[in-house]
Subunit: 424 residues, 2 copies
């Protein structure tokens, strides 16, 4: 007989994990709404060309790309931003600016499964499209921070950089765009040996390499911006920009101790244009990053007009891991009914229905278990209280509500049962 | 330049539709929790053999089936029950019975797109696994009904049948299982001409066809069960079963006027074994069904032990359509801040942050629009109130809260602003 397996690298989620995931999702959603971001959703698969346009043809090796029955090249989405920008270019671009959008969805990558890396995973992200950089950058940073907090993560650092600082240095040294992109990839991987070799190979100035290395190793409080300005010869506008940004973060309730300036944040992707940031959380070990984002320019890649955009994405599965594991989230059942006769069963159904309509969670023995076994089951599934109903209870129109933790019994009339649970 | 299109037959959802979808989803979730059903989630794709085992090899033509890079046959799921039963057989079967599970997810089918039929669509479903039929059937019916109501649909009928009644008739007439399955498919499509021809072709008794036709055309209140019992010669246990079920529905607060007995409900699928039902809602035109379900046996198909299961699935997109369209659901913004100086901007950020933390939705002009234009934008995005802050407001530590609907202005001190919004 066939042994039906879950596909490799994927997961099934039991109720106790789903409960936790929904709590985190609700936390993110609540924060996004309070910032007046509106949710959008795009299809789970897209025409493959969309992802190639964003990330180059190499992406095909890393994603679920296939032909549909009409011979169209489609792919399961590896991330959500490309589709949102496609949606913006085709339809949303006529809406009043700025557009503040958020989204949450499953993404897919084809890679060897390993600890904490799955072939289906979830992202939560947001974008502001069509607002000039400083105010939008600050708003997006604040949203990302409060989303992390709202999801239950303990944020240890918000590392903020600006690609314009490096770019100014490269331009002074007359290093072209292609080489700049290569250099950013070395920096994103923190591969300084590789960077040394690359500078040597391309015959780039060792002095520029020295300044660059100093620059990207600048990581600390906002005071390092003065040091950076010195390194740049005192005329870098993007350093002034970061100072203005820092001032706004304070107004957003994000203190100087809660973020850092890190001019080494390079993000590996070519479409970032200005401010970039990453958020780290406690409890995740060496790989502590839960979020990355920044200002970018993608609309024109998908046929739209160039427009200032800034956004971020959280790895939702990492957010789940980042929650304090001390916190116990067991779905608790308010009340478990145990009928011991047919008439009592009908009464249980009536009472349960009344309670459920009011949002009280109620369950009923469906197996006709004996009272002792039914209590055992109620305990197993985490019921807070249990009620046995038999002929005596029907005659007296009254039950004993048993507290499953203490064993205490409280007599309550049928007609007062809803009150009893609502006022608990 | 490439024109980046959304894949054929799929949809993008703007914020106002997502708001509506989340409201419906939350309604379903709340009801499922009140019934003590726990949520599970399974992968978006499965090994293709899973769907073939459930529905036969013909299913491959109707789904997104493809080979992954490891040459494994995988498919985007066309429905959710098969995966949940796989999960049950492989992992959840050791949990205490009954298992009450619900789930919501996207499903895919490869077919010509047409009005209201999409290649990616959503289902919401629930199952009780491992409880004997009557109590579980009643509980699942009640859950389905209250989910429909909780989602905002106006339920016009719950049509309840039982495959055992037909089966008893077939067995009396010595019609084998294969022919029974064929007959059920004609009935599910209400193809009575086809059924006549089929009976003639297979040489089956015209008398049986006559009784069958009378039986499946019985549709009305529970009193038709007496008529059905007559037709069956007075000894059909499954008709008695339906009477017991009806009695339970009353206890669940579902009155006789709210459901009907319809012995013609055949469900097109072979794994249904007993009680079957369909729910109709208002506002959907000719195709009024929003939910189908019943008792089934699938665990053994996936290598598990046979176990009584009963469940249902809602077409989530149909539930959205079934909501009264009179109801206006525009995401409303509580407050829109308009700063008219740099210092005022920082104060707006502070005030907005305080409000947002308390769950009040607040937005701030990010474009530095002039006051008149900013009010226009606030109106466009549906802000309930707007506040202008300039030097005067900073000096007096006080703002005028403008009601966008009436134009009324209310003076409120900075320190009282949160109070003002929380007590509205």
């Amino acid at each position: 007989m066939t042994d039906f397996q879950r596909p490799r690298g994927t997961r099934d989620f039991p109720p106790e994990e789903m409960e936790q995931r929904r709590i985190v999702e609700d936390g993110l959603r609540k924060v996004a709404r309070s910032f007046n971001f509106g949710e959008v959703m795009t299809p789970t698969f897209e025409n493959t060309e969309l992802f190639v346009a964003k990330s180059g043809p190499g992406i095909i090796d890393e994603i679920y790309a296939f032909k549909d029955k009409g011979d169209r090249e489609i792919s399961l989405r590896p991330e959500l931003t490309a589709a949102v920008m496609r949606y913006y270019v085709k339809e949303l671009h006529t809406r009043p600016k700025p557009l503040k959008l958020y989204y949450m969805g499953n993404c897919f990558r084809y890679e060897r499964p390993q600890k904490g890396r799955y072939r289906e995973f979830w992202q939560f992200g947001a974008e502001i499209i069509g607002a000039p950089s400083l105010e939008a950058d600050a708003e997006v940073l604040a949203l990302a921070y409060y989303c992390a907090v709202g999801s239950g993560a303990v944020v240890t650092d918000i590392r903020i950089g600006h690609l314009g600082v490096m770019k100014a240095l490269f331009e002074k040294a007359q290093i072209g765009d292609d080489l700049q992109a290569d250099i950013r990839r070395y920096l994103d991987k923190k591969d300084f040996d590789g960077l040394d070799a690359f500078f040597a190979e391309k015959g780039l100035s060792p002095e520029t390499l020295g300044t660059l290395t100093e620059l990207v190793n600048l990581h600390g409080n906002r005071n390092i911006l003065d040091k950076a300005q010195e390194l740049m010869g005192g005329d870098c506008a993007d350093i002034v920009y970061l100072k203005d940004l820092a001032r706004r973060l304070n107004s957003y309730g994000i203190q100087d101790s809660q973020y850092s300036i890190d001019l080494g944040v390079a993000r590996g992707l070519d479409y970032y244009t200005g401010m970039v940031f990453e958020i780290d959380a406690a409890g995740l070990g060496a790989e502590s990053q839960i979020c990355g984002g920044g200002a970018y320019s993608l609309s024109e890649t998908f046929g739209g007009q160039q427009i200032f955009s800034t956004g971020f994405a959280f790895g939702f599965d990492r957010l789940i891991l980042a929650r304090s594991s001390d916190e116990e989230i067991i779905p608790k059942l308010d009340i478990y009914f145990i009928p011991i006769s047919d008439d009592a069963r009908l009464k249980c159904l009536e009472l349960a229905t009344e309670l459920r309509k009011a949002g009280v969670s109620a369950d009923i023995d469906l197996l006709g278990r004996k009272v002792g076994k039914a209590f055992g089951y109620a305990d197993t599934i985490g019921a807070r209280t249990a009620i046995v109903i038999g002929d005596k209870e029907l005659a007296e129109k009254k039950v004993n509500v048993k507290d499953m933790a203490t064993g205490d019994q409280t007599p309550v009339e049928f007609s007062r049962l809803l009150d009893h649970y609502q006022n608990k």
